[in-house]
């Protein structure tokens, strides 16, 4: 085992665990499932840590594994995922000013998986388009197209953003 790189990866995972959970939860909408996704992603990533040579690529590499794991879980369990009270994050206090954001949050959540991933990574995780390209293993133009398509679907909310 390359201990140095392994340690860097585990340190990165521990530091960012809450971000990973939030991303997993945005797909799963259920606490236990989100924890499963995070744990499985960690196991899969560490199993293949030897493929990482550059520590600067750890972030996009791990997000790629995590997004794959989350999407894979959703596909396998699409007939079983509940969309009840847990659709929104637990214990959220929403002020009136947040109403538009809340509506947008719900709309983003209902986007097809590939479009949702681009929006979540771009606007919630603040990733650049190049990073999203690496995470989703697609070329930059595809990312741009998906982003455009997603924003088009969210048009009336995006108009608000453009003001």
């Amino acid at each position: 085992m390359n201990g140095n790189m392994y340690d860097k990866i585990t340190e990165y995972i521990l530091e960012n665990r809450e971000k990973f959970y939030r991303l997993a939860y945005s797909y799963a909408h259920e606490r236990e499932t989100a924890l499963d996704i995070v744990q499985n992603a960690i196991c899969k990533a560490l199993e293949k840590y030897g493929t990482i040579r550059d520590e600067n690529s750890i972030n996009s590499w791990f997000y790629r594994v995590l997004v794959n794991e989350a999407c894979s879980h959703i596909k396998k369990n699409s007939r079983e995922v509940s969309v009840g009270d847990e659709k929104m994050p637990e214990q959220v206090y929403v002020e009136k000013a947040f109403e538009l954001g809340e509506e947008l949050y719900k709309k983003v959540d209902m986007l097809p998986e590939m479009l949702k991933t681009v929006i979540v990574l771009r606007f919630y995780e603040d990733m650049s388009l190049e990073e999203i390209s690496r995470v989703t293993n697609t070329n930059l133009n595809t990312v741009k197209t998906r982003l455009y398509t997603a924003l088009k679907k969210l048009k009336k909310f995006v108009m608000e953003v453009a003001e």
């Binding site: 085992m1 392994y6 585990t10 995972i13 521990l14 665990r17 959970y21 939030r22 939860y25 945005s26 924890l35 499963d36 995070v38 744990q39 499985n40 960690i42 196991c43 990533a45 560490l46 199993e47 293949k48 030897g50 493929t51 040579r53 590499w61 790629r64 594994v65 794959n68 794991e69 999407c71 894979s72 959703i74 596909k75 396998k76 369990n77 007939r79 969309v83 929104m88 994050p89 637990e90 214990q91 959220v92 206090y93 929403v94 000013a97 947040f98 954001g101 809340e102 947008l104 949050y105 209902m110 986007l111 097809p112 998986e113 606007f123 919630y124 293993n137 909310f157 953003v161 003001e163």
Partner: protein, 248 residues
């Protein structure tokens, strides 16, 4: 402040479970333990090391029964769950047990060898990777088993590809290991049955505001399938990985 900022605030209010840290630490520890165990068992496990220089694949299929590196994790959370309904215990027992029918075992081994060889060919396109740490790991899982039929999936992990493992489904007769087609399993009107079940599942998903894969529109002859623990065919869209259980 714009709407996306507000949506992000909602996203960031996702409550973090207290046990997250311990689960993460546990996963890291188990992975480290698994890596150490794998190193110890490497001579016996089903790991094909691909040397770029020699471009050779070394496979020790016979060791699969005794050592199953992908499933060493005992915690339920980390055990690969396939098709939701397959008991984890089924997977290792079948190969180890006296599947009195050696034809089945031979077919599983043959399938894994084929897929390892294919993975090796695919590696040729990935030139920028270091020649060390290049490996192909093959495993299998029994999806369904009866006196007449065995349905199994071959799982291929490639160390140079961090995306999900590749899955290849096989449905064979226990008598002669010949393939069973969807028509054999569902009857002559198999295509209509698949489409009806898919439409029903999609309608249910849509009614529950669940995302529906736009590309997965209709049955195609090349679709693969497996048989789940309930004895129903489950068709799989290879591109998206979406599965539809055929309940008719």
């Amino acid at each position: 402040m714009n709407a996306f900022s507000d949506a992000k605030k909602i996203y960031n209010t996702t409550e973090i479970p207290d046990e997250l840290e311990s689960i993460v630490r546990n996963a890291i520890e188990k992975s480290a333990e698994k890596a150490r165990k794998k190193e110890r068992l490497s001579r016996f496990s089903l790991i094909s090391k691909v040397s770029v220089a020699a471009c050779a694949v070394l496979v020790l299929l016979g060791a699969l029964n005794a050592f199953n590196p992908l499933y060493n994790l005992s915690d339920d959370r980390t055990t690969e769950k396939f098709g939701r309904s397959i008991p984890d215990a089924v997977m290792p027992k079948t190969m180890r047990s006296a599947h009195t029918n050696t034809v089945v075992n031979d077919r599983i081994n043959e399938a894994m060898s084929e897929k390892i060889a294919s993975a090796r060919q695919g590696y040729g396109k990935v030139s920028e990777l270091d020649s060390e740490n290049i490996s192909v790991i093959a495993d299998y899982s029994i999806c369904y088993e009866s006196d007449d039929i065995v349905s199994f999936v071959v799982l291929i992990d490639k160390s140079w590809d961090s995306s999900d493992r590749d899955k290849f489904y096989y449905n064979i007769r226990t008598s002669d290991a010949s393939d069973i087609t969807l028509e054999d399993f569902l009857g002559k009107d198999y295509a209509e049955k698949v489409d009806r079940s898919m439409n029903k599942n999609r309608a249910n998903a849509s009614a529950r505001n669940m995302p529906v894969a736009e590309a997965d529109v209709a049955f195609a002859e090349e679709m693969s399938f497996y048989i789940n623990a309930s004895g129903n065919a489950v068709v799989v869209f290879s591109e998206s990985g979406t599965e539809y259980e055929i309940t008719e």
